[in-house]
Amino acid sequence: MSKRDPDLLLQSAPLLKQGLSVPTAMRDVLLALMPALFAGFWFFGLSAILVVAATILGAMATEWLFTPKQERAVALGDGSALLTGLLLGMTLPPALPLWMAWLGGVVAIGLGKTIWGGLGNNLFNPAIVGRAFLLGTFPIAMTTWHVAAGPDSFFQLHPSTLALPFMQSPPMDGMSAATPLGLMKFEQIDSPIFSLMFGNSSGSLGETSGVLLMVGGLYLLLRRALEWRIPLAIFISAGLFTLLLETIDPARFPGIHFTIFSGGMMLGAIYMATDPVTSPVTPKGAWIFGCGIGVLVVLIRNFGGLPEGILYAILLMNAATPLINRYTQPRVFGRSRS
């Protein structure tokens, strides 16, 4: 061989990769959320679009600010901040003042992720941290709901959307309406199953369309990007618990369809509880984690002071995740369980 030998690399095996990366995983989730997101836009109009834009902006700006300059392109490019902002936005009331939504995005990344050490190190789901902050700080604005008006009033901005920071909220407009959860909690009124399933009811802008959220979940399942055990465990445990309560007192407690399709159940179970960072790594842990959430949701909704419980149910189980991981280590091949 007259030619000089190539300078050989010594990259250690394996040289083959599955071809799945963090950005593709994030992109899959983003894609899966699109149908429900656009349904939310359709039902709640321009205000909803602006709210989502504000949370995403808040989240991305915070990520940018707290990331060292040379890592910014990668950190923003992996899509995790975008996903946090989007998820947060989808849990908010459509007419939330934009500055609040933006602040929620800032807190979600700042307190939910960055101070823990960035991607992969946070204990709590960042989007839920953002929402918990908003709910604690602006309880009235966060519980002022509007009817799903549909495309007729698409360009009609709610007056509260453009409220200035720290000014008194403008008076309620005539479009406000109770959510199905509120109706159930305070007046024991059931809502029609159809509007629960397709999102034609008042509520958070991205949470109302259970069916479309499920379609996205199906896509993730096909892409093998979903820890299916978690939502399944949530639905099963919440369903069984609801069934038990319903048999005890059918007048007071709602049925299974209501538990599964109302509020943030679908979004929380499929997209938030399954956040890999804040959920257990072991399959058995995933079952425990999901069952815990299911039971807590029903407990909080029916016996707590709040109409919605998925938020705190997930946060509580997030806190239990390290413990669950520790006690659900699989049995090592060829060894007895230690």
């Binding site: 061989m1 030619k3 030998d5 190539p6 050989l8 690399l9 010594l10 990259q11 250690s12 095996a13 394996p14 040289l15 083959l16 990769k17 599955q18 799945l20 990366s21 963090v22 593709t24 995983a25 990668v74 992996d78 960035g118 991607l119 992969g120 190190n121 820890e227 890999p276 960072v277 959920s279 257990p280 790594v281 072991t282 399959p283 280590q329 699989p330 049995r331 090592v332 091949f333 060829g334 060894r335």
Partner: protein
């Protein structure tokens, strides 16, 4: 999951890399022409290196003994060519270190005939004589680890082998050397299996083959149909990596777990690679010691991939030039498979007894993708056939907390690389675990019971 894999006849967990076997699976094994320089390191496997019994300048015949076993866990070496010993000196080995080596210059005018006398009929040999014969023939496990075969055949008192398992899984992508042996020499595979089965006193034998080798399965089936009395069964297996790992294969075929820290023989099983079985059959048919082996030369950096019968000691350089040389894109050469093989430091390193493949890779496969933080997705846990927690082990290793990796059974890891393959964050998990294991071997700590 356990239920599903019992239907599919496989072990639990594992990964599914693309096979990349198409380039070479239909290419018949060709013999490479003899070159001039043959490099035979005295240590080719775990255990003691062999001891040279030839001197510089001595003429040796092809197949002649050039080094005798240096202990029980050691095998003999034989000259791969007729020629002259030109050097007994340290030469570069694949990891870059220099080890004592016999260098032989081939005689260009020799006919390169192997002059050997067949040993006594295998049926008449006692098990001790059989073991001695195998050791003197230099036969080792041909699957990659090159563990001396005769050691496996030495069954301690009280233990006995019920099942002989022949490993034809060949789960590493790209490699087709075992596949070609099964397709081209099915009679020899069966003959070797039967010899081993009888000598080890096993009641039955199984040949485990992944289903992506239908041609091999058909070829062996045909031979078995002709002699239906042989207690040899074929076990087609799910195509999954690492199906060919000894303990995984046992689980797939027999649904039995070999306890950690024990050997297959402790549960009555002996596992041998297809290549080893063929070497045994050849030894008792012609008396030929292990002086050549089948090597798959493939990978995107090779223009003319091939399955080659290669004399041991052939420098990788000669093999590559026979295959049309490296193309310009080649950045790395792996000896073995792409999942568990070793990168070689120089084209001068020789083919060893355990070299199943020479694979050339380009920029595309060797570029190190950006490493993201671990997002705790659990994919490595679902990949690990040993049910370890690779992400945890990698984190501990990166923080140099090597002792703590013992609590997570780091030494049970067989370094199959399924975790690294599956990791979406591109964390070099297998490499980090290797680091931890190396450190623990150098500074042993007592394992907590």
């Amino acid at each position: 999951m356990g239920l599903l894999s019992s239907f599919k006849r496989s072990f639990s967990h594992g990964v599914h890399p693309a096979h990349y076997k198409g380039q070479t699976e239909n290419l018949a094994i060709q013999r490479v022409p003899f070159g001039n320089r043959y490099v035979m390191p005295l240590g080719q496997h775990i255990g003691a290196p062999a001891i040279a019994v030839v001197n510089k300048g001595q003429h040796v015949g092809r197949g002649e003994l050039i080094a005798k076993p240096g202990g029980f866990i050691s095998t003999a070496l034989h000259s791969p060519v007729t020629g002259t010993v030109t050097e007994i000196s340290p030469q570069r080995t694949l990891d870059g270190s220099f080890k004592p080596t016999i260098v032989i210059e081939a005689d260009p005018f020799s006919a390169q005939r192997v002059e050997t006398t067949p040993p006594a009929s295998w049926e008449e040999l006692s098990i001790e004589e059989f073991i001695e014969t195998v050791q003197q023939a230099g036969i080792v496990g041909m699957g990659g680890a090159a563990f001396p075969s005769h050691v496996k055949y030495s069954i301690p008192d009280g233990a006995h082998i019920d099942d002989l398992l022949v490993n034809g899984a060949e789960c590493e992508p790209f490699l087709t050397n075992d596949h070609r042996l099964m397709v081209e020499r099915p009679e020899t595979v069966i003959q070797g299996t039967e010899i081993l089965r009888q000598k080890l006193g096993a009641k039955r034998a199984n040949i485990g083959i992944e289903r992506n080798k239908p041609e091999a399965i058909r070829a062996l089936e045909k031979v078995l149909e002709k002699s239906p009395s042989l207690p040899i069964t074929l076990s087609p297996l799910e195509v999954k990596y690492p199906q060919g790992a000894e303990k995984m294969l046992i689980q797939s075929v027999y649904r039995k777990e070999v306890p950690a820290g024990q050997l297959p023989r402790d549960i009555g099983v002996a596992v041998n690679n297809v290549g080893t079985v063929v070497a045994i059959a050849d030894l008792f048919a012609t008396g030929a010691p292990l002086i050549e082996r089948v090597v798959t030369v493939s990978g995107p950096g090779i223009d003319q991939p091939a399955n080659l019968m290669v004399p041991l000691g052939t420098p990788v350089r000669d093999l590559l030039s026979f295959c049309g040389g490296l193309n310009d894109k080649t950045r790395e050469i792996i000896m073995g498979g792409p999942m568990m093989g070793f990168p070689i430091t120089s084209l001068d390193v020789p083919i060893l007894k355990g070299s199943s493949g020479i694979l050339a890779f380009t920029e595309e496969e060797t570029a190190r993708p950006h490493e993201y933080p671990c997002i705790r997705c659990g994919r490595c846990l679902e990949a690990c056939p040993y049910f370890l927690n690779p992400s945890r082990l990698a984190l501990l290793s990166r923080n140099r907390r090597y002792e703590e990796t013992m609590d997570y059974h780091v030494m049970d890891c067989v370094e199959c690389g399924a975790c690294s393959f599956a990791c979406p964050s591109n964390i070099p998990i297998a490499q980090l675990i290797r680091t931890a294991k190396d450190n623990l071997r150098q500074n042993p700590v007592e394992e907590a019971a």
